[in-house]
């Protein structure tokens, strides 16, 4: 059972607009995500009545209140668990989990890895601002080590999670990374996430203007972004840089950054991105790349095929219904060991 589709172009962003005040701070990256998703939804070919947004708790999780769709603002960390029920109950729905780094990497870590492991066909949009915003500035599981926050006055002493690593570790079939300052890239990636069959995780590097302003500046800054990001495209060699002359290759099974034209390096030497590779070793290496040695990987890192939980569940239900002799509850109640006690026998 798959999502039913309608002609694209029959809906516009107006169909998802809600007459309400959006209460995120001015300058928060979440505004960009809202706008991009409103723009992307009409292009997914999904009926507007079939779109469901489920969220947990945190700034990110106010999202369902700001878009005209079915929405469920749930409990801290539990959006993935609730979405698992929504989607399994009705595979026809297009289900989106709107979550943050505190919501999904800390309190909801268990549900995050298990929805991915099951490969339930939902889209998880992970607003990663590397801070607890709604509770006003405590460190999160993705806060860079050493950061000074309200609960780490001497700097954090914890190693941060990489959402991509967790996704791969849970056998994720789709992982992408975008920045809040590039709406074109975000829309392109979100449409790919929506089209993917299975759990899609899109990490949005998102700026919190109040509590972690410029936390991603070394990646997203106008002056550095071309050299510090690589936008991965399936089937294309891994090239980046302002001059488009840098690339990534394997050297003795280790990735390294090289310059095209130096030491005899040509495009031919570079890794051609294969997002669909069932083997996730390269994808794993890609999500771990970080400054200063490497650019940060953007775009769809992994988009591999696997079985989808609710489809298999639905197939098993159909198969069971086809095969059974017990069509109704009455049949069930009368199956197996039953005993008729008659009046005559009880007369002594």
């Amino acid at each position: 059972m798959a999502e039913e589709k309608i002609e694209t172009g029959t809906l516009s962003r107006q169909d998802f607009k809600l007459d309400t005040t959006v209460k995120w701070c001015a300058g928060c990256g979440a505004h960009a995500v809202l706008s991009t998703i409103m723009g992307a939804l009409p292009e997914t070919g999904v009926k507007k009545e079939n779109v469901v947004f489920v969220s947990g708790i945190g700034c990110s999780s106010r999202f369902p209140y700001y878009i005209n769709a079915y929405g469920f603002h749930s409990l801290h960390g539990r959006a993935s668990a609730i979405a698992s029920g929504v989607k399994t109950a009705n595979p026809n729905l297009s289900v989106w989990v709107m979550t943050g780094d505190g919501d999904s990497m800390a309190i909801g870590g268990n549900h995050f890895i298990h929805i991915i492991r099951r490969n339930i066909n939902v889209n998880i949009i992970l607003f990663n601002n590397k801070i607890y915003g709604l509770t006003k500035g405590q460190y999160s599981p993705t806060t860079p080590k050493g950061s000074i926050t309200k609960t780490s006055p001497d700097g954090t002493i914890e190693n941060p999670f990489q959402p991509g690593e967790l996704t791969m570790g849970a056998q994720g079939t789709f992982f992408a990374r975008v920045v809040d300052s590039d709406p074109k890239m975000m829309k392109d990636v979100i449409l790919k996430a929506a089209a993917h069959k299975g759990t899609s995780v899109v990490e949005v590097l998102l700026n919190c203007v109040i509590f972690a302003n410029d936390v991603h500046k070394s990646i997203t800054g106008r002056d550095v972004r071309d050299d510090h990001q690589i936008y991965l495209k399936h089937g294309e060699p891994m090239i980046f840089g302002k001059e488009r002359n840098k690339g990534i290759r394997y050297n003795c099974n280790k990735m390294e950054v090289v310059t095209i034209g130096e030491n005899g390096i040509t495009e031919e030497d570079l890794i051609v991105h294969d997002a669909t590779d069932p083997d996730d070793s390269t994808h794993y290496n890609l999500v771990r790349m970080g400054l200063p040695e490497f650019p940060v990987a953007m775009g769809v890192v992994r988009s591999a095929e696997s079985t989808v939980f609710e489809s298999l569940m639905h197939d098993q239900v159909q198969e069971a219904q086809k095969k059974t002799k017990l069509k109704t509850v009455d049949d069930l109640l009368r199956s197996g060991n039953t005993f008729r006690i008659d009046d005559e026998e009880t007369v002594s």
Partner: protein, 617 residues
């Protein structure tokens, strides 16, 4: 080589099977129960097993038991004490000596009664040669050796052969109870199906046991328990957990909804999850979640998606689910939470029974968070109350907590199979597509429920969530007066359920000296004790509550009819406390027991007589 045994007709007999947890005593117990049901006996069963899967062999801690009470008369409990005890080893004998009647028949596997086993069981002296078994009819049967001899011809290794010892026991019991051995054969054919050699070996051992019993002198008396009086129709032997699962399936079918169970394995509730997992053919989905929280959250998601949503658990799991129950309360989505209670706190006594989660069910959530709480009172009526839980939840758009317990869940009784056409209708308050009047928190004027608009429906897009919502419109609201309105609305909605549940029934006279008050799974013991005393001419009545919150509307009137009231519970007095808070004009005495065991009829009678006699002074 036959003999002509004396046949004794009995109104009822209690049989206890006891052995190591790997000895197959649960299986033999079930086999004997099914056979008894087949010949028309009323019955009640109770398995009693350790929480370890295979506790150290031969130790008292490792003893697994199964008690069956069969009757020509109606039976309501598995019985206080056994007429027949099967003890596969000294530990099984030691553990059960205090649970057998004077003069009981005690069948032991003499092959296991040696010094090594005595030591493991903690016997200091040989119980067969001191006076501890004086007055009992002890049958020293070489069960192990005779089983091995019989099983040899089928090429079974010793370990596998020993696993068929329970069939030797079964064979002996078929003879002892004048049962047709073909019933035992049919059970084995069904049990082992395709494993032909195992069927043959087990059948041969079954016959060996039967023939042995017929031959020996020690068994000179056999029992005959006639079919039960006043029962007719189609019956089956039903455990509480199975009844719960089937009640939920019946409710889903009747409501025209598909069943979704989000659950996590936990003793003693797991069988419900296992049963629903087998029922895909009825369109049911069992989602085995990663934890208790995901169990309930997936169910809440499924409820939002328009399924009949259920989560099943036991006490520790209910604790983990409490935040999510609050979410179902505030989103006003239907959800059934089945809590099969066990001994607590914490991990407590996982395989033993207790009624100690009542307070947790009633009050264990943050905020003003009312939920309907109901309780089943017999293994078979778990079907009715699971059905009722679903009906109330769907029709009133609110979570319902159904309390059962380990005693009901694993115990069984004869169940008169109903027809689903006779079950009450279930009408979900659905909304038509594009209903322009729809608003998320617009309420039904009678029941106060909101309406159920489901994702996928046209023209009904809306948002729910854990933040307080504005009355009617459902937009997020922090307005102080609105919060008070919504808190009161949710409370009134639950209180109004009292208009839709039956009055509290009284067993016995409506007025008198003593009213015994119970709730949930203690029914069997209480009703037996109270009716016995009524027959003896005492002024005593019983009310067994199934509806805990809200209480039936006539509750106050019922209490007013008696001079004294005693609340009997398998906890330290949680229902008594609840009743005192509701009815401050009455005094409530208490009888409480927290031993992981159900009430025994004798102890209850003793307590009630003490109070009644005090009354006469």
């Amino acid at each position: 080589m036959g003999k002509n045994p004396k046949i004794v007709q009995r109104e009822d007999v209690v049989v206890k099977f006891a052995g190591d947890s790997g000895d197959g005593m649960q299986l033999t117990g079930s086999q004997f129960s099914d056979t008894s049901a087949f010949v028309g006996n009323d019955l009640s069963t109770f398995p009693d097993y350790p929480s370890e899967i295979r506790a150290p062999q031969g130790t008292v801690a490792g003893v697994s038991g199964f008690q069956v009470h069969i009757g020509h008369k109606e039976v309501t409990t598995p019985g206080d004490q056994a007429d027949v005890l099967v003890a596969m080893n000294p530990a099984a004998l030691k553990a059960n000596m205090k649970w057998i009647k004077p003069g009981a028949t005690v069948i032991i596997d003499i092959d296991n009664f040696d010094n090594k086993h005595y030591k493991k069981a903690g016997y200091e002296e040989d119980p067969l040669h001191d006076d501890s078994l004086d007055g009992y009819n002890v049958v020293k049967a070489p069960i192990t050796n005779l089983t091995r001899d019989t099983a040899k011809q089928f090429g079974l290794d010793q370990k596998t052969a020993d696993k068929t010892r329970n069939q030797f026991v079964a064979g002996m019991l078929y003879w002892l109870f004048n049962r047709d051995i073909k019933l035992g054969e049919d059970f084995l054919k069904d049990k082992f199906r395709t494993k032909e050699n195992l069927v043959k070996a087990n059948m041969a051992v079954l016959h060996a046991g039967y023939n042995y019993a017929e031959t020996i002198e020690a068994l000179s008396t056999t029992f005959l328990v006639d079919p039960v009086k006043n029962k007719k129709g189609l019956f089956r032997n039903m455990t509480g957990n199975l009844a719960t699962a089937w009640g939920l399936l019946a409710a889903a079918e009747k409501a025209g909804l598909k069943l979704f169970l989000g659950s996590y394995p936990i003793t003693p509730a797991t069988e419900i999850l296992q049963e629903i997992a087998k029922r895909k053919h009825l369109g049911a989905v069992a989602f085995q979640a990663e934890d208790e929280i995901a169990g309930i959250c997936s169910a809440i998601g499924a409820s939002f998606s328009g399924r009949l949503a259920v989560t099943t658990t036991s006490g520790p799991g209910l604790a983990l689910k409490s935040e999510a129950i609050g979410l179902a309360v505030i989103t006003e989505l239907p959800l059934v939470i089945v809590n099969v209670q066990r001994g607590g706190p914490s991990t407590g006594l996982p395989t033993k029974t207790e009624q100690s989660d009542l307070m947790q069910a009633l009050y264990g959530r943050n905020g003003e968070s009312p939920a309907i709480v109901i309780a089943a009172s017999t293994p078979a009526n778990c079907f009715d109350f699971a059905y009722t839980a679903a009906k109330l939840s769907v029709e009133h758009m609110t979570p319902v907590i159904l309390l059962t317990d380990s005693y009901l869940a694993n115990g069984s009784e004869l169940w008169n199979i109903p027809s689903t056409k006779d079950l009450p209708d279930i009408t979900p308050p659905l909304v038509a597509d594009n209903d322009e009047k729809y608003q998320p928190y617009l309420r039904d004027q009678e029941k106060m429920n909101r309406f159920w608009a489901i994702p996928g429906q046209e023209g009904l897009r809306h948002r729910v969530g854990g933040l307080e919502k504005e009355d009617v419109t459902g937009t997020v609201s922090h307005d102080p007066m609105n919060h008070q309105v919504m808190v009161i609305n949710r409370q009134k909605k639950v209180e109004k359920v009292a208009d839709y549940i039956p009055d509290q029934e009284i067993i016995g006279e409506k007025t008198g000296d003593l009213l015994v008050i119970g709730w949930g799974g203690t029914y069997g013991g209480l009703v037996s004790a109270v009716t016995d005393l009524q027959k003896a001419g005492m002024s005593i009545s019983l009310v067994q509550f199934n509806y805990i919150h809200p209480l039936p509307k006539n509750t106050e009137q019922v209490f007013a009819g008696f001079n004294k009231r005693i609340v009997c519970e398998i906890n330290m007095g949680q229902f008594a406390y609840h009743l005192r808070s509701k009815f401050q004009q009455f005094e409530f005495l208490q009888h409480n027991k927290v031993q992981g065991l159900p009430f025994f009829i004798a102890e209850l009678k003793e307590k009630f007589i003490e109070i009644l006699e005090g009354n006469h002074q």
